[in-house]
Symmetry: C2
Subunit: 292 residues, 2 copies
């Protein structure tokens, strides 16, 4: 029932953040075609720069899959107007994701509003925000993939920090929702999770949480590595194989739970942003085969 | 049954790491007496520098409580000789903790051995190491306080990263152990946990885990704050009140669970290490009253 665990370059997706400083989205799309990479996952700033209609046309012309649009979420805000603006922005992101045929919209929770120490309150704002946009996502046929971020981002980026915490929200807000199947694969929940190696590898409970999620809620699988030492909290992520994450074991958990999507490579790294783009892509392909 | 939640400067303990660059242990002991601080918690390098016998005599002379000795643990190693050396070092640490009358020996798990990606294996080495030193700790009357460290230290410092993970180990290795009561307070488990605000604040399950630990396994309570932004993974911890942790709420959880020890201030910060020692101590006392 689950796919083989062999890495397959045709099932690679390239997240635009991996080549943030090298390429526009148009250049990324052309590079993926040139390197026989089957899918991309753009960030919204890159998408806005190219324009949604032009991006959709280029993606269709090159027959690329869009594994996700990065990213919505970021619900907590200091006041009602701020929270309303976040909801509106998420609706636009859902529409853009639908327009480019993205398999999901990646969401991060958001951190504490400036000056706040109310983590319980911020988490309640995340729950309320998710509940408010879910209907729009269902109508648009865009599953929402809540990506728990590493606990070191709790204060300023995302206060949802483990897969179980994300899955508790899924179970509460979307107990049995389904969206139309766009991909020809198993139907997906309207609200699920994205599993990013960088964020979950340390969690002793991540294998059980991945099983708990199941094919239905596993909407994305992101690869990179944890470097030792890590010199920057945000922009020192590693190429697969350069760090300490047991990626083959993680892959086996994810595919063993029925995940049927792509292996998306998302590496935020000032080091790799300084390397020639085609060289990065060749390294990604090699490392994907050798280290996952 | 539980103590009042009012901060009380007489129940402050000063961890030597807070004044790492300013003072020797002898100077720290004299400063605590000068500032009416009731307890200290030395790191082993400072203790070795002064000598255990001299330190014990000075601590007795100034009638200071020793809330803990920092630190043992660090069990994973690449080979059997390395693991044996860690056990031997932990036995020495237990003996030193007994010699200075420390209420516990603080343990951190240790990270992955160099070159290893086997996190499951490293965690098994932690369990085996704890089991091996527990008898010696019991005989010496020194409770072992396993301190889960923030998940960002999983690779290189400590692969026990949540209170629940630590408590699972306690329940497995020390299901009903007791050590003689040195403090005149409730009897303690031979193996328990230290709750450090910096490491646990993000965990959605920390309130439940603190209740789960109970007075019996709550062996230490460490205070500092999480700064936004955090610019260094290790040495950018904040003075209480300068960051985003809801310290009064955490304190209420800890004391509400029956904790009857000191509030220990441990701030690893290049910023504070550059400030005059007496000024740091005055700030610690003020902030303890105002922000916890």
């Amino acid at each position: 029932m689950s796919r083989t665990f062999e890495p397959d370059p045709a099932r690679l997706s390239l997240n635009s953040a991996t080549l943030r400083d090298q390429w526009t989205l148009a250049e990324l799309i052309e590079a993926c075609a040139r390197h026989d990479i089957g899918a991309i996952s753009p960030w919204r700033d890159k998408l806005d720069e190219l324009g949604v209609a032009r991006a959709a046309a280029m993606i269709r012309a090159h027959e690329l899959t869009v594994t996700g649009l990065c990213r919505g979420g970021v619900f907590p805000a200091a006041d009602a107007a701020g929270r309303r603006a976040a909801i509106d922005d998420n609706r636009r992101a859902i529409d853009d994701a639908a327009a480019i045929g993205a398999r999901c919209l990646i969401l991060i929770a958001g951190g504490l509003p400036p000056g706040s120490r109310d983590l319980v309150g911020a988490r309640a704002m995340v729950r309320d925000g998710l509940a408010e946009i879910l209907g729009h996502a269902r109508s648009a046929g865009v599953p929402l993939a809540l990506e728990p971020l590493h606990p070191m981002y709790c204060a300023d980026r995302a206060c949802v920090n483990t897969l179980d915490q994300a899955l508790d929200l899924c179970d509460e807000i979307d107990p049995d929702g389904r969206v139309p199947d766009r991909s020809g694969h198993a139907p997906k929940a309207a609200l699920g999770v994205a599993v990013d190696a960088y964020h979950v590898w340390w969690d002793p409970n991540h294998p059980a949480a991945i099983r708990r999620a199941g094919a239905h809620r596993l909407l994305g699988f992101h690869l990179c590595d944890w470097l030792v030492p890590t010199t920057d909290l945000l922009l020192d992520r590693g190429m697969m194989g350069d760090g300490v994450i047991d990626l083959p074991a993680l892959r086996e958990h994810v595919y063993g739970a029925g995940y049927d999507g792509f292996d998306e490579v998302e590496i935020l790294s000032t080091r790799w942003w300084a390397v020639d783009g085609d060289e990065v892509v060749r390294t990604v392909k090699t490392r994907h085969l050798r280290c996952t």
